[in-house]
Subunit: 358 residues, 5 copies
């Protein structure tokens, strides 16, 4: 049942509601939503956590770059107020709240809307966790929405802004949006390493000593790979859409960087495809390997049966209690029977050798 | 035989008839056709059930939005009259009546014709039921045709119009057509949840304890998934056709909404593909798992046979009734035989241990 | 050997001949070729069977629509004369005579040349028969060529012309050509029903009670489906080529009808793909099912062997004839042996229960 | 090892040489290269075998069509001189000498360069032989290069020129090039027939009586089909490249003929794809068939073992030599044992019948 | 674990660093980096090894062609200085240092950046080694970066420049870049030969005598083929991108040569695809072959068991020690039992012959 949850998020609650209706689809992943605002340019840096959405209005028209980050989506009113404040399209707000979206990109003219999947490996439950991250890129602002506080991924970006590392303070909002995307795609490489480790961990074993447990792991790996593919595959279009976009929101110098993320995404997809093909090959080889093992087992059984069944029969014959059995009375009868039995063994072995079984 | 019915609707009756001949192809799914007319704009709302097709003529040229819904297709004359009344192309009418159509979209200039499949899960027979819905979008009217009364799906839309929920009363006929499409696609998510549940229900079992019954379910799931794919796949083209259409019937604000339905459809298709791949993987793993089980069984058999066959043979030898068998007369003969037999067992076990069977 | 004939028609006779050489490639399927001419417009209708090709020359330049139908291709001279008469390209004539052509469409400017495959189910040999139909569409004439007299398919069209059913008498030669194509595609649905029936007939059985005979049928079905696919798949291009054609020979009103045939063809192709996937799934499931059955059989065998082999061995031991076997002399020896044997059985059964075999 | 040779021609000798270096890659297939020149137009016909490349220079600028055919490529100097004489690009000469090229087409402006594979079935070694044919088409000349003298294929063309059969004497150099291509593609049909025969020869057998030898043949067929595909697949692009070419070297009337060869190539490719799918299906069905057979065998074994093991055990019990075994002394003991044994058989048979094994 | 390393290079160290951060990702493959400068035109040739990056600055603006080759990437400062010196984009420098890049091509206007994979077969560890080669093509310079000193591949190029072999001294920097690419692609053919040899080495064996070891090799081959595909597949785009490029850096005469490398790359990809399909077929056939073998083994076992079990039972019956067993006392009892036993054998053999097992 767990699997369905991973493939299909229940949307039933929403069925029939008019489009643009704001309902949070997904689990509530944190207690209280948190809104952080970072406002900067080459010289200025201002960072604060705000309580009320309204507090971020003044930042809207400032020439500095403003990054509003919202952690936690279950409080629909926050999204609604933000939407009103910045005049966003209702469908956009609906998409932010529906956490089962495919990665996508939509150019609304005044702003560009991007949905991506952030992937995290949760060691405690040995599972890959996916969370939806929505990013709205405006002329001088970036608003990002996360289902929960995945602090450390975006913290690195925050840190770079704070300390003015790299070019980030010198570039516009588009570069900030790129940086967030880059941070997310960077995580994918870590996930790939995790999957690769699991993969490497069962590969040899599955081929040589297949057990139910290992088949279960292989099957789960395949499922994980399929799910990852689903999250990452549409990213190609998203990023190349941004790169080829003619929107004035994305300036040319940033496009080279987008090309770079694009290539990273392709690299991840390549790796996923290799895992997919390798899993198939692994199962195929393991099936052949099992059949081969069984063949060996059967040969041993047949060998033993074929040698001892006739012998036991012969012994059985002379174990019969007929009154008149001439052989029993013969002087060398016993020795002759042994001779016959040994001949049978030799003939059988010769036959098997001829058939290349031994 | 049931399966053929699900894949191929009998069209034989129609073979050879001139194109445009109106014959109802499909089952009769309700007693009497029912025609409902809803006429509205931002201020006006009028809803009634009509008996005669002619009654809807006056609505044709009113500036208000008119939605004519026809439930039940077996009464060909209704469709014919409607067709004459609105001056529809005969092939369009023929398509409405042929319930085995693929989802499609055709722009006739004055009106746009859309065919979709409405899917419903019928719990009583544990089956997914598909019904054809045809929608004709004109400048200020929408005419929809259903095979049977699937009330509740479109009722939600009716309710929204009645109560003026959302934007529907402020938008044109194109938005109404979109709303109907959206309602249909929303149903697909429910179907996907159903399939997902069935899937999750047998997955573990099929891999660990495969039985004929479970294989049957897996095979049926695969069939269902293939049929769903067939109904939903062409939807991509239909919706993107509408979205890219240059027809004045579809206004720009509605296109963003169409994009939204398009993305929902893609999401459903993605899920279908995952189910397809997972079913394949499931069968593959289960085959390996069965072979593996058999291997275990064979090893036990071979072990037992390999140990007891030689022993039984030895016992057989000394059960022979030859008059002259020196061993039988030996004082420690019996004990020696036991010693030999125990040695055989030890050697065999050592051999199996070496081959890693035990 | 029969299969090769169905996949590859012998063209060896033709190898090396200059292009445009008229040689009939294929079987002779009827005694004497038959040429029928129908000449009509909205008011006039004239139908006759002619003996000499030359008789159809006068029809060539009349404003009425002329349909010349040739049944039987083995008499090369007829095709040649017709070709000269209407000034057709030699390659076109060669194609008409080569009955192994793929469906194709070629626009020669003054006329359009179409090759299709007519499919018929021959109940007497339980096989699907394919025949090549070539159609040449000129400004006011249609010439059709069939390998044999498949009367009834085109007879329905003839009948419609005779009786003026539908629009056929009001439309041009392009509509007539469309009607012929439509009649051929309509046949495909009947073939699909036939295949579907065969399919449904073995599906259940193959999964539950696979036998050689059923595998043979499944394999043949797969072959049939592949062959059908080969005949029908190229049709998509043919029809969409006609639809998108800018030739003045095809008028706009006819294009909507061509779209309709196109959709029918796609529907048939969809069904073929489903059959293809279902056959694969069927074989896959049946393989799993067989392995599963074998597993059950093996478990029974192992159970029996594992219980009775030790027992038989014990009985064998006390069947030995050693002079000094203390147990034999014991008062309760026989009962003790039974006790041991029953313990063995209980232990074995417990072991099997633990492994979940019983 | 033979297979590598068929997939990869050793190019090691060439590694590191500057591009345009003329080295013959491939086997030497004939003793002495042979150069034939045919010069013709509608009225003139001149054919001779020349010793020195220089002899063909005078033909270069004549208005007549000149066909130079070179059999045997190992003498690099001939190719080099021809290249200088006609001023060909060094890479073109290199390609002619590298016999492992893919079919390709390159337009060098003044001339068009075409590489194709000629296939021949060599009955003596039961193998399909591929040879590279390069064709250079200039304004009034065609130069063709073959690895060996495959006389008869091009001889038919020569014969047509000599006798003025067909249009060949009336058309230009492009038509001659087409004719050569057509002759090569015609050979493919013969190869397909050969493969089809082999295929038909093992199909039935593989499904019903699979043996190692038959599996070997199936595997080899698959390999052959893959190799053929590799040779023929790129031809599509080559011919359609020529057809769509805007080079003045290819005149419009010839394009219809090129279309014809194109369709023949597609037909061959179609057939190859069918063989590919059929081979897969064949192996799949044969695997199921083998498993099915084994199931039957196992059932017989289990039946026999399950019936006779308990019986033998019972007999064993009463073969024991305990002093005190009350049953042995009973008057009807022997008959009772028989009764028990017969009951066991009946119970077992009933059990098997219930499980539908017999 | 080794496999993960081959599929995924650890990038974790880099995660979160701002783009353009120069960190060497990959193994350190040589002790000290080495920089070689070759400066040449048709008349001049100057070659030296330099210690400090700054030494190559004077070469930058000379009209002669300058080739700077850097072996060893772990010393980030070298790359950095070179980057500053030539004013390269920071992302380009980052890419050079990240050795897990996909082959790619980027046109930066003033220079073109190319990443390729050089493949080498290391006989000592029986593995294919891949190393990243980056090439920057400027108006009159080429800078190449290698992870280690793969001397001999580029040495051949150096030698050609030194000795003025071929056209290289007469052509520009683009031709030099092409020559390097050509040298790399030439290596692929050698790798293909190696894979082909391995492949040919196990093919026969896997089909006839499958062993675990051979399955392991097959699985590894499949993995190798997948990895090769990953390295070589993107090359198509890279080279065709260069060929279609409108950059003034690539002159027309060089494009014909690029076409040539392109075709070589396609040829390698073709071969990889054939290996992929052949490996699949090999495993498939080998699975059938194993099953077939097992079938043979099972038949022998069943034959032996079915013949000797009844015989042993009969012998067992007359080995019973009942006091009253009339048969035992019969004069011809023993001979009759033999007669019965022989009949049983004959019946069984007849049965088997009927079922075509013997």
């Amino acid at each position: 049942m767990d699997m369905i949850k991973r493939i299909i998020t229940k949307r039933s609650a929403k069925t029939g509601a008019p489009p643009g209706t704001l309902i949070h689809v997904g689990e509530r992943k944190m207690e209280n939503p948190r809104i952080t605002v970072i406002d900067y340019n080459e010289k200025i840096f201002d960072e604060k956590q705000i309580e009320e959405v309204e507090e971020c209005i003044p930042f809207k028209n400032r020439p500095t770059i403003t990054w509003v980050n919202v952690d936690g989506l279950h409080d629909v009113s926050i999204i609604e107020k933000l939407g009103k404040c910045f005049n966003f399209h209702p469908l956009l707000l609906e998409d932010i709240l529906s956490t089962e979206q495919r990665p996508k990109m939509a150019d609304f003219g005044d702003y560009i809307f991007i949905i991506m999947k952030m992937l995290r490996y949760d060691a405690s439950i040995d599972k890959i966790i996916s969370e939806q991250v929505s990013v709205i890129l405006g002329p001088s602002f970036v608003i990002s929405f996360q289902e929960a506080d995945n602090g450390d991924v975006f913290d690195l970006v925050r840190d770079r802004i704070r300390k003015g590392k790299g070019k980030i303070r010198k570039m516009g909002a588009d570069y900030l949006a790129y940086t967030l995307m880059d941070a997310i795609v960077d995580q994918y490489f870590i996930i790939m390493e995790k999957v690769g480790e699991k993969f490497g961990g069962i590969e040899e074993d599955l081929v040589y000593n297949p057990t139910k447990e290992r088949f279960r792991i292989a099957h789960e790996l395949k499922r994980d790979v399929l799910l990852l593919r689903r999250y990452i595959w549409p990213l190609r279009e998203v990023i190349s859409g941004l790169e080829r976009s003619e929107s004035p929101l994305i300036k040319n110098p940033t496009k080279i960087y987008l090309r770079d993320v694009y290539e990273h995404a392709i690299q991840v997809i390549d790796t996923i495809e290799i895992f997919r093909e390798m899993t198939a090959s692994m199962l195929e080889v393991s099936l052949s390997s099992i059949s081969n093992n069984m063949n060996e087992v059967m040969k041993v059984l047949t060998l033993i049966a074929t040698i001892f069944m006739p012998l036991t029969f012969i012994a059985g014959v002379y174990g019969m209690n007929f009154r008149y059995m001439p052989e029993l009375e013969m002087l060398w009868g016993y020795e002759m029977v042994w001779a016959i039995m040994i001949s049978v063994v030799i003939i059988m072995l010769a036959y098997f050798r001829k058939r290349k079984w031994i």
